[in-house]
């Protein structure tokens, strides 16, 4: 089996030198509800994600996956446990992380190019180099020619592509995505999945993606992490041993079906 594609060699396995590039140790989070109870959103989540790995998290609503992402992103500061990225413990937002939210969150008064440039502006990166990179990313996500357009002139899928380009413009080593394609129709979603794989293989990022879709998770990932609610915890961690580069035909392969069945069973057991 051609497991290793030319560029991401060795990534599909956790047993590589940087297997714990992104390390989560005993992440615990409790919320106080309006009625005065405390709800445990996350209970002792331990995860080690390798450098350049594509990891997905699936789980039903309320399993704490978005909370987990917000903790990694540094947007949620009140939690127990430790997050280490690239050997450094982090305690807040980091410029080494790019985030794609469920909503594209583009600024409607800025052109696509200026939207993609926003992180570079805020982080005060070299303007010319960032412009070149922004234009390269815009064409990479298939929006070449739309640099001067405004978000209202673009479709939902195109806006989400722009959001992906924006998340990568400051060249972070980690890309966090919270149901990035949740709001798109099924066909656009499949196209976007393929696009994202292409971007991932070109940009060499560690990806941590949250999704509701088992198919999407299996299709894209090296690893699928299964979470269950009340309290949110990791119940399974499945390595997806399918060849890359992946095409949509893969979805009709028996192995693909085996993985989705196994994951669905794990989700339903809980």
């Amino acid at each position: 089996m051609n497991l290793v594609s030319p560029r991401n060699d060795g990534i599909a396995h956790t047993a590589v030198p940087h297997a714990d590039f992104m390390l989560l140790e005993g992440i615990t989070k409790t919320f106080d509800t309006a009625s005065g109870d405390t709800v445990q959103a996350l209970r002792r989540v331990d995860l080690a994600i390798g450098d350049g790995q594509f990891a997905s998290v699936i789980g039903s609503s309320g399993c704490g996956k978005t909370t987990l992402m917000r903790i990694i992103a540094g947007l949620e500061l009140d939690y127990g446990g430790r997050v280490t990225i690239g050997g450094r413990a982090h305690s807040g937002p980091s410029r080494d992380i790019g985030i794609v939210f469920q909503d594209a969150n583009l600024l409607p008064w800025r052109t696509i190019l200026d939207n993609v440039m926003l992180p570079a502006e805020v982080l005060k990166l070299d303007r010319q180099a960032s412009l070149d990179r922004a234009k390269w990313l815009i064409s990479l996500v298939g929006l070449g020619g739309f640099e001067a357009r405004y978000p209202s002139e673009l479709s939902g899928g195109m806006r989400q592509r722009a959001a992906i380009a924006r998340a990568l413009v400051h060249d972070p080593s980690v890309l966090l995505m919270d149901e990035p394609f949740g709001a798109l129709d099924a066909l656009t979603r499949e196209t976007m999945n393929l696009e994202l794989l292409k971007i991932w293989s070109a940009a060499k990022k560690t990806v941590f993606m949250i999704t509701h879709s088992i198919t999407e998770a299996v299709f894209m990932s090296d690893r699928v992490i299964v979470m269950t609610p009340r309290p949110g915890r990791v119940v399974d961690d499945v390595t997806i041993d399918l060849p890359r580069p992946r095409t949509l035909d893969l979805m009709s392969e028996p192995q693909f079906g085996d993985y989705t069945r196994k994951l669905r069973r794990r989700l339903n057991e809980a």
Binding site: R95, I97, I99, L107, V122, G144, F146
Partner: protein
């Protein structure tokens, strides 16, 4: 890169579509509205003459036109319009600056929110007309008192809309800025302020009309000049044609101001679909 530019230019040229039909419809509607106006004036003229309504009750439009012409030609109405226009625009400008400033500060600083906001809410419910006599007592019969009344009348729509606009910002956009470790100033300037602009403009559009209202009320309560002052004068002299002439000027003034406001809004909020 050049190929990309030409591609976008080409798409830009194709875009404007289905405009001719909309323009035709616009012209149609405009014609009907002009015809309605002409009919109304004619009906007014004919019925006043037909039933010989006395001039001090309702003058015919022709006499209003004569009064308007004489008022403008003699410079009388221009002089008084100058007063009213100056105090209206000055008061409105102050209200715009103060309203946006206080609205911003209240939403940026928790302590000001707690201290200032209850005042804003309670003063807002007070009819500003009711305090006009007090302002006249404190600031005199001159133009200063009118500017203050105009400012108070037009302040609150701007202030309240600024506060709502600043608070209406998507959490996602704020999270985005936070994930980039943006400073508070950057988040305000790049996200919160532009996000609030449609709300602020909605407030300005309401306020500009309130400003004219405040101006006239202020002149009613106590003044030596201005169009409101002229209405009172004409009223005492039973010169109803002159009152109508002043009303025509006021109507045109309001229309002009709100048209200018909308033109500015369209330019600034080109990205906002509703404007």
């Amino acid at each position: 890169m050049t190929t990309v530019m030409t591609a976008s230019d080409a798409q830009g040229k194709i875009r404007p579509s289905s405009k001719p039909r909309k323009k035709g419809l616009d012209r149609h509607a405009r014609l009907i509205s002009i015809a309605g106006f002409v009919f109304l004036i004619a009906f007014w003229e004919v019925s006043v003459r037909l039933f010989s309504v006395p001039n001090y009750i309702l003058p015919p439009p022709s006499e209003v036109a004569v009064a308007l012409y004489r008022g403008i030609a003699s410079g009388l109405l221009i002089y008084h319009f100058g007063f009213t226009a100056f105090q209206t625009l000055t008061g409105f400008a102050i209200a715009a600056v103060v309203g946006v400033l206080i609205g911003t500060l209240v939403t940026q600083f928790k302590i000001l929110d707690l201290v200032v906001y209850p005042w804003v809410v309670s003063i807002q419910t007070l009819p500003k007309v009711a305090i006009a006599p007090l302002i006249i007592v404190w600031a005199g019969y001159g133009i200063q008192s009118k500017i203050i009344i105009v400012m108070l009348s037009s302040l609150f729509p701007i202030l309240v809309n600024t506060i709502v606009g600043m608070r209406s910002c998507d959490q996602g956009k704020l999270d985005l800025m936070r994930s980039l470790q943006a400073t508070r100033w950057e988040t305000f300037r790049k996200v919160q302020l532009p996000n609030a602009l449609p709300f602020i403009f909605a407030g300005l559009n309401v306020s500009i009309i309130f400003a004219i209202l405040g101006s006239i009320v202020g002149e009613f309560v106590g003044s030596r000049a201005g169009l409101g002052n002229q209405i009172l004068e004409a009223n005492v002299q039973f010169n109803v044609a002159l009152i109508f002439a002043v009303l025509v000027i006021l109507g045109l003034f309001g229309l002009t101001l709100s048209t200018i406001m909308r033109a500015i809004q369209k330019r600034v909020l080109f990205w906002h679909s509703a404007s």
